[in-house]
């Protein structure tokens, strides 16, 4: 086995492009959190927006959160990946520009066109609105998603180009020579391995997503061009699953890069790491039938495949990334500041969220829990407490005024507010799922209201804490762009 030692990499500030991504992500994230809070308050019957507004907000929240998770994840990946490969800043900015165009189209379709077929836009719902929205509103929504998808596809093609230019091919960038041969300690760094995985799966996912969007746009204007509803659903969930999961795999790069700087310990791509990322590349693409377990007409072998991969998928998360963080932090003398706290918390959130997720992917459990609030319960655990915490950790790291800068009590209070709020919020969803509360209902039955009210309190705590994180980041934008040491030396570490 190769011997790995820590090699210090200087902390670099973010480019203007990365800051534009993060600024956009933070602003939209906060807005979408508020939308989510409104939805919980409506379900709790604390406010009265009406079903029309609820479903419009639900569509906005879903599409907005998925999009912004992609933008935030891409910012983390691009920031660190450019240390190793030559990326195009022009393409990076073009993706953001296309994203903003798509956002305007989506907001227009919802606010002015009253489109509310959810972000999953299952065929043939966009074209069968029962008079609730026009053909143009549906086209604007799906066109907006298509524009955003094209932007991300361009970005990933550029990343693919840069990786291949530096490493020769994807196999080398995934470290296959070291994985299947002698581990000489020269495997690509974790950031490159993770970025390669994300690039492969997202290119495939985005092409599938763009294909079904194009087919459905055609169907809008040429109704005689029909699509098999099962095929459409499979393509939508393939694209959706791959894209949202890729956001976590992009954001976790912040953990791989920043925690070693805080602990002065190596997080290298050894054989186990490489094996897990190669396995995840395949699993992320082939797990998607676990969204279709209640579509009994779907090929049964694919449903069983979704069940099995759901179990297998937890292993890399727990044993490699989650456990890897525990190893480098244990007796490291790490100094706990907002960045290190949030990044450590994020891996807990990811690992903890994987538990109710794989349980939901068990066919017999799914039979009585699919499309209950158990589903948003588990995905909010690994996205809010996992992915979003990774991004918050990253922005605190970028904006940290100095290596040994002290933090105020307000930031620490917000950290605990976010942690407990997110945990309470997700557990209220999970508990409601256990009680069979159906998902995506504007109006809840009286016996469901207590869970909604508890969830609303915790959601408000999450929003308030996130507001502080975001305001802190905007107030430190100047520092975030400069090159200087941010990660403090661990206690007792040799300088």
């Amino acid at each position: 086995m190769a011997n790995y030692t820590y090699e210090h990499t200087p902390d670099r500030g973010a480019t203007a492009g990365v800051l534009a991504y993060l600024g956009t992500a933070c602003a939209v994230l906060l807005l979408m959190m508020l939308v989510g809070l409104l939805m919980r308050l409506e379900q709790a019957q604390i406010i009265d927006l009406g079903a029309n507004w609820f479903y419009e907000l639900m569509t906005l929240h879903g599409a907005g959160m998925v999009g912004i998770a992609g933008i935030a994840g891409a910012a983390v990946m691009w920031h660190f990946l450019r240390q190793y490969v030559d990326l195009s800043p022009g393409i990076f900015l073009a993706n953001l520009a296309l994203f903003l165009v798509g956002v305007v189209m989506i907001i227009g379709s919802i606010v002015f066109g009253h489109f509310h077929a959810a972000w999953t836009f299952l065929y043939p719902m966009p074209s069968q609105s029962m008079g609730m929205w026009s053909q143009e509103a549906a086209a604007l929504f799906m066109g907006g998603l298509l524009v955003i998808g094209v932007g991300f596809l361009l970005l990933h093609l550029d990343i693919a180009r840069a990786i291949v230019a530096r490493y020769g091919n994807f196999a080398r960038a995934l470290g296959w020579p070291q994985l299947f041969g002698h581990d000489d300690g020269n495997a690509p760094p974790p950031t490159v391995v993770a970025s390669t995985m994300v690039t492969i799966v997202n290119i495939v996912g985005l092409v599938v997503g763009a294909s079904i969007l194009t087919m459905m746009l055609l169907n809008l204007y040429l109704p005689e061009f029909t699509i098999d509803a099962m095929l459409a659903k499979g393509m939508i969930y393939f694209f959706g699953h791959v894209f949202i999961n890729a956001t976590i795999y992009m954001a976790v790069i912040a953990v791989y890069e920043i925690l070693p700087r805080y602990t002065q310990r190596p997080w290298k791509a050894n054989k186990v790491f490489l094996a897990s990322w190669s396995a995840s590349t395949l699993m992320v693409m082939f797990i998607f039938p676990h969204h279709l377990l209640m579509d009994f007409a779907f090929p049964q072998w694919m449903l069983i495949m979704g069940h099995i991969i759901g179990y297998l998928n937890t292993v890399p998360i727990l044993v490699v990334t989650g456990y890897g963080a525990l190893m480098i932090v244990f007796r490291s003398g790490i100094r706990w500041d907002m960045a290190s706290r949030l990044l450590f918390l994020s891996l807990f959130g990811w690992a903890a969220g994987a538990m109710p997720a794989f349980i939901d992917g068990t066919i017999t459990v799914n039979y009585v829990m699919h499309n209950t609030l158990w589903v948003p319960g588990h995905f909010h655990t690994y996205l809010l407490l996992g992915m979003v915490a990774m991004v918050f950790g990253f922005i605190y790291y970028l904006g940290k005024p100095g290596q040994n800068a002290a933090e105020g009590w307000l930031d620490r209070a917000a950290f605990w507010g976010f942690s407990s709020g997110a945990l309470g919020f997700t557990l209220s969803f999970l508990y409601a799922g256990k009680e069979s509360v159906a998902r995506r209902y504007a109006v809840h039955l009286p016996e469901w209201l207590p869970y909604d009210r508890v969830g609303s309190v915790f959601a408000a705590l999450v929003v308030a804490s996130s507001l502080l994180f975001v305001l802190r980041f905007f107030s430190r934008l100047g520092a975030a762009g400069r090159d200087y040491a941010r990660a403090p030396l661990a206690q007792g570490a040799a300088a």
Partner: protein, 176 residues
């Protein structure tokens, strides 16, 4: 089943929290030489890996033994299946019958006349006992034997538009 899923999730999430909490508490004093820690860590990781294989492997296989897809579910139940044709519409359920007999298998043949819906059967305590998707162009079949009399409700389990939450129906389960 829901109770098991909840308790199991809580136990597993607590174990994960315990691991992270233990490491956070033991992060303050640095052990400068990382190599021995790494070796010990890798040994523990191997044990963790094999524990997961030993626990999750059989669980994964065991839970595949009783899938809701096959006809075998009601094969050993008494009497012929009572067939209920169920069709989803925006926003109502059309059922070929709304009364069935308990302790005899019921076959729900579920489809949709327009867009995707979800056919969820709730018992009198509003707990979900079975479901399948209602999809245009396909028929999904649930085979379920009711063991308790009462009024069961059918709720839509796939978002289908403005009145999704109102798309409810009832089915009465009685004795012969």
């Amino acid at each position: 089943m829901q109770e098991i899923a909840w308790q199991l999730s809580l136990v597993l999430m607590t174990l994960v929290a315990f691991g992270f909490g233990f490491v956070a508490i033991n992060s303050g004093v640095r052990e400068e030489d990382y190599t021995p820690l790494q070796k010990r860590g890798y040994r523990i990781r191997s044990k963790l890996f094999w524990t997961l294989v030993a626990v999750l492997g059989p669980a994964m296989i065991y839970t595949l033994l009783d899938l809701p897809y096959g006809a075998s579910r009601t094969g050993n139940q008494a009497g012929p299946a009572q067939v209920v044709e169920a069709t989803g519409h925006q926003w109502r359920w059309e059922l070929s019958r709304d009364r069935v007999v308990k302790d005899q298998p019921v076959e729900f043949r579920v489809t949709s006349a327009d867009i995707n819906h979800g056919f969820g059967i709730y018992d009198a305590e509003m707990h979900l006992v079975a479901q399948t998707q209602a999809m245009p162009g396909y028929t999904n079949t649930i085979r379920h034997t009711f063991t308790a009399e009462g009024t069961y409700r059918i709720l839509c389990m796939e978002y289908c538009g403005i009145a999704h939450h109102n798309m409810m129906s009832e089915i009465k389960v009685g004795s012969l």
